[in-house]
Amino acid sequence: MEISATHPQSFWSKYVFSTDHKVIGAQYTLMGCIMAGVGGYLAYVFRYNLAFPNAYIPLFGSLSAQQYNSFVTIHGMIMVFWVGMPVLLSGLGNFLIPLMIGTDDMAFPTLNMLSFWIFLFSAIVLLSSFFVPGGAFGGGWTMYPPLSAGGYLNHNPEFFKALFSGTSMLILAVALELVSMLMGGINFLVTTINKRAKGMTIMRIPIVVWFIDIAAVIFMFSVGPLVAGAFMLLFDNVLGTGFFDPARGGDPMLWEHLFWFFGHPEVYVLLLPSLGVLGEVFPVFSRKPLFGYKPIIYLALISAFLSVLVWAHHQFVAGIDPRMATFFSIGTILISIPFAGMFLSFMATMWNGTIRLTVPMLWAVGFVGLFLIGGLTGLYLGSNTFDIYAHDTYFVIAHFHYTLFPDIFFGFFAAVYFWFPKFTGRSLNKTLGKLHFWLTFLFFNGTFFLLFFNGLAGQHRRINDYSYFSLVMKEPYITFEKICTISAIALILSQFIFIYNVVVSFAKAKQGVKNPWESATLEWLAESPPPHGNFKEYPVVYRGPYEYSLPGASQDYLPQNIQEEPVTNTKN
């Protein structure tokens, strides 16, 4: 099979309608970053409104209660489905899988391109829902009926009017996004199974590829009911059926189950690729083999299995069967065990290592530290007795931002600073990178840590103006709100350091350093940036991905394609 890179390509076929996995990965990542900008802007607007109710918001104007609801809803939607998914699953998967398993491209390149274009279309549908009459959907990102079904007041909706409402467009956008990710998932799995380089056995695949694939499996196996549910909810809106309408025999609880049956595994779909990045970063900068490569994989498989059995802990206050609540409580607390195991393995990797505190390493360590807080508060919330008190308060907000923010952004930035030299041939400024990290770390904590206390004091999370609730809105909680908002603005502003860093590095000439971090996995063998088709000749793999500081080896690290046997044999 001839590699098409050798043909001359125009700008359009090279960067826009490309089937090259790296270009598609870049498209996904760029799109994710743009959507993160939108999501961040929405967060800025409603956060400002919370600290300074009814004030004029710079760069926006004044915010109505309806707009506040839409902004919160779409902020959640964007950050999970249009930032986390494309950046971590599709972006990283497209960039890394073919290079790390030593092949030229994805198994189905055209399908890959198609999946990006469907994704782009879904993003356009989502954003244009702001401009339809009535504005974007504002009933919470979980889209619970009856709010998401026109309130079930109208049994005979006008088809087109209902189709071009914020609700229907949001449901459509989500359904399209899920279809796009399904296509991507098929590609990732088949590529990893069928296109590995010679000698790349299953137990020699780098951990990040493993984790992206496990995430793709979790996604594909849990998304089905939600796709079916999205059809049902859409028909409730546009045709006036009553699938979730209790007055017509339906049950809104069913939607909650359909949503969370996917929505909870989704958390692990986002978490696993990020953890995989940590699995790559820690060994390289600790110059030690990954502690417990195989156990980590088994733990990930166990967590994948458990992740589809714990979904209803999001519904403890929704009126689910109390006996099932106990079951789901236990499952939720059980699932922390595999993840604790993984984090302990990462820390054990650092133990006694020659630690190089580079920028990606800083992000990785920051991830572990912050996720610990998110994970531990998750244990409280997993217990249904505590959850009944804390549910729908700012405690929950703080908890899931402490899990998802490190997960999506710290994991993403660790990956970006780590692989940027490989995929662009340029390097990012170290000092600016460190500044970016410390400011993000500081202001992230400033934004969300105090919300734990606001939540425990009883602040409900879906109220746009707390000046009406003097019982929960008193000192020090008013000051806390203000600190949160100012930190959030500073957090958003500190991301401009990163943008500046990237722009400056692109203005400079290419350096093309092949392996700046002295890493052992296959992607560092290719040129920087890798050409279309990746490798000059297909690599042959002789060893596991994390052979650092081997006693008896001729150099500090042994890349996977080196045939040399160290004197002391190690397993893997």
Binding site: I3, D104, F221, D251, M253, L254, V308, G319, I320, G533
Partner: protein
């Protein structure tokens, strides 16, 4: 301009030398399928409804197994794929059981709309 030749061994082209799987007697499978179908149509007139429904779904599972094993050639595939399909069914069962207490096993007076 360099070209890289990729080993084509993971694409099976349909010729006799590279046959990936065998071909069972499709006619006989079709006959069994149709026989099972007619049986499931007749059974309702013979047994009590509960027994008939159990039987009907048993034949549906049997028919599925026949189609998957013979028409889709699952019986020539590695064990891995059986595990994947079984996992899918297991997950669906988990979903059904998790939802059952909230949707199906609720008191009758709650479920009847007013």
């Amino acid at each position: 301009m360099e070209t890289i030749n990729q080993n084509n061994d993971n694409i099976v082209f349909p010729d006799a030398a590279h046959e990936y799987h065998g071909h069972p007697n499709y006619g006989r499978v079709l006959f069994t399928l149709l026989a099972l179908l007619s049986l499931s149509l007749v059974i309702g007139y013979i047994f009590s409804p509960a027994l008939a429904i159990t039987f009907i779904f048993a034949t549906a599972v049997w028919k599925t197994a026949l189609v998957m094993r013979n028409f889709m050639h699952l019986k020539y595939e590695p064990l891995f794929l059986f595990i994947v399909i079984a996992a899918v069914l297991l997950i669906l069962f988990a979903f059904f059981m998790g939802v059952y207490p909230d949707i199906t096993a609720v008191p009758r007076d709650v479920t009847l709309p007013h």
